[in-house]
């Protein structure tokens, strides 16, 4: 079995993003970037499935600027991906375009399973996995907290509002990961050294015939409003009076 894992290069999760002065987006100049933590979990899961003898190959894909290839996909190979595909573009790529590119890659690579993060921590869209499954016409198991391969099926335990839901999907399928699926490993030094020798191919969106022109227009990006100081009121009556005065009730 072959597993495809899309990974995105995003602002490091330890950092507090700063908004550009003109409100056009997040300032990424000289900012530390890392692999999207949800994708790291997806990759870890794929490598564990391979280590358990249930898959033969793990292929990592990243769509983005040169650094996505040189840094993010290098980490991916150090963690355990066998090879990497870098679709290089400096443009902002929206979820639908990502899903279309991934579909083209899936058509070419024919993986039995695509595992990816449920969302990227920069835009928090939570769309790409679902779109990809729809474009492919394949079953999807989103927000996975447990993934078990069972012959030509995969059982996915999903974190839903009411608790846990388990679905059994026929392979090939698309799975998106939630935070509790696993705890990603730190790459071992020998694997970091080996990673440099694992193959990577570099493509462009045009190679897959995908037009990445944005369908959405960002009007403005702003910091959330600063929270106002609270006030402690002596009793419920005062509270109700205040709320009425504010027009809140």
């Amino acid at each position: 079995m072959k597993i495809l894992v899309p990974v995105k290069r995003v602002i490091d999760y330890n950092l507090k993003p700063r908004i550009k002065a003109d409100g056009s987006g997040v300032d990424l100049a000289n900012i530390k970037m890392s692999m999207n933590p949800f994708d790291e979990i997806a990759l870890e899961e794929a490598v564990r499935i391979k280590e358990a003898g249930k898959a033969e190959e793990v292929v990592a894909v990243s769509i983005g600027p040169a650094k996505a290839g040189s840094d993010t996909l290098k980490s991916a190979r150090a963690i355990g991906a066998d090879r990497a595909i870098h679709v290089e573009t400096d443009e902002e790529v929206e979820p639908l375009a990502v899903a279309k590119i991934l579909k083209a890659i899936v058509d070419e690579e024919q993986p039995q399973l695509v595992i990816m993060g449920k969302q990227a921590i920069d835009d928090d869209n939570n769309q790409t996995g679902q779109m990809l499954a729809a474009l492919l016409g394949r079953p999807q198991g989103t927000f996975a907290s447990k993934v078990e391969i069972d012959g030509d099926h995969v059982a996915v335990t999903r974190e839903v509002d009411g608790g846990l839901e388990t679905v059994r999907l026929a392979l090939p399928a698309v799975v998106t990961t939630d935070l509790r699926l696993n705890e990603p490993r730190f790459p071992a030094l020998p694997n970091i050294i080996k990673a440099a020798k694992k193959p990577m191919s570099t493509k462009s969106p045009a190679d897959y015939g995908v037009d990445t022109a944005p369908r959405l227009k960002t009007l403005k990006v702003a910091e959330p409003p600063v929270r106002q100081a609270g006030e402690i009121v002596p009793d419920v009556d005062t509270l109700v009076a205040k709320l009425k005065a504010m027009g809140a009730v």
Binding site: S75, A78, F186, P190, I192, A195
Partner: protein, 596 residues
Amino acid sequence: MQVYEAPLRDMRFVLDELWEEDGFGKLEALEEFDSDLTSAILEEAAKFSREVLLPLNRSGDEEGCTLENGVVRTPEGFKDAYKQFTESGWSALASDPEYGGQGLPERVNKLVEEMTCSTNLSFGLYPGLTHGGSIAIEAHATEDLKNFYLPKMISGEWSGTMCLTEAHCGTDLGLLRTKADPQDDGSYKISGAKIFISAGDHDLSDNIIHLVLARLPDAPKGVKGISLFLVPKFLPKDDGSVGPSNGVTCTAIEHKMGIKASATCQMQFEESTGWLVGEPHKGMAAMFTMMNAERLSVGIQGLGIGEAAYQSAVWYAKDRLQGRSLSGAKHPDKPADPIIVHPDVRRMLMTMRANNEGCRMLGAWVARALDAEKHATDPEVRQRASDFVALMTPVVKALFTDLGHENANLAVQVYGGHGYIRESGVEQYARDARIAMIYEGTNGIQALDLVGRKLGAHTGRYLRSFFHPVSDFIEASKGDGPMKPMIEGLEKAFGALQLSTATIAQRGLKDPEEAGAAATEYLRLMGLVAMGYCFARATMISGMKLAFGTEEKEFYDAKIKTATFYFERILPQVSAHFLSIKAGKKSMMALEEHAF
């Protein structure tokens, strides 16, 4: 607050840019480790140290090690971290691939060491000592011992120690009393007591391999009668599994000023079975293989703490609002300006920054010499590299640890009263950094090593490995360009170093006490000149980058500003040290002993 992000950009600068022309030439054996690979390694090391080691630094300091029923327990979380550290292969970083190591160049290894020391000095000592022990075993032990012990030590399954000090002898090891009795099977029975043994006992590894200095029955008195023995805590079985206890016990652990999560043990050896490492009575030479490597690593400890202290101080100086800038409010929207606006706070931050960058550049040069010493194909280059390492080992050890401690103290000062409170985290740096000036030979001993053993060696050959590149650089860089003031400053400082060298050589021949009286100042003077040379090179490279256009304008611009600060505000200390050296020992020795 303890804040740390590995200074990866600066590390790549010293690794890939500053020493491209290091005078040792390209090393074919290391070609595999190109910039792509080394930056991947550094990034993963940075992540590991930040996410695994840093969170255990303060808690380890608070909890410390405990001795219960003869067994030492390390603080909560250390065991897991050690397991992750060794399983990820970091313990095998620089070791010989023949025994399972990764064979990484020292130039990379030293940068990873710096990160470990920045985030958790106490933790770093455990694998650090194991590495030192494995170096001595590799250089001096028999093939059988090497094949049996090295793979397990390099993988970190077994750890190591060096057992030198006894209650009555530290610096003067000639006095030591631990005995070794030869047995019929070629082994020895070791008996005696050792103190101050770092990592002497702990719960991190399955077995602990002690390298013990002891005397054979027929040993001559003094340092010429000391031999080195390998003594395991548990006698291993032939299949490599851990067997019975070997009479090695930890009788107490020390209660220390700092590095509290590192177990410093009193050890008792009672007829413990050991094997000779190297020749009989040549233990000191074998131990020095380990010691020299350790001294460079201790220098890196100073730099590591210095960097963490700097980052934590910068964080506070930007966060703490207090008073207004002397030139008018800089942040009128806030109730006060952050203290980073004040010149005296700048003095402290810039000093720390310059200390760190200077040490990192010099350390990278010495690390390249270590690589060249091992891998250069031309014997002349190997010799020159080896001379340079010998000369610079005491400088790196003493200078880096002095400055690391200075940085830690400055960080406490930047925090003011809050720095003196445990919760701020920076007073830990001051306590942890303090030991690095003492162990592996006090900084006073390092200075004596420099003036006593290194200066005159082979009629000044060691010295030439450093003086020649500096004077060549000054000659080649003279002219009316923008570098002029810096090159002139370096030339003047270098002149003071040459004069001091001549003074010490002259007076020291007649009166060794004169050399002893000048030693500490001389070592600092040499360190200041060496860092000045590094900063001048860095400025030249950064100037070129800016002139030809770069996307990293901010980085190179900062490099030049830091270098300029160094030349204007730190390098002038050379004159004071020069005058002290010139004054000689007289006033130092004049007061009669009874008057103290």
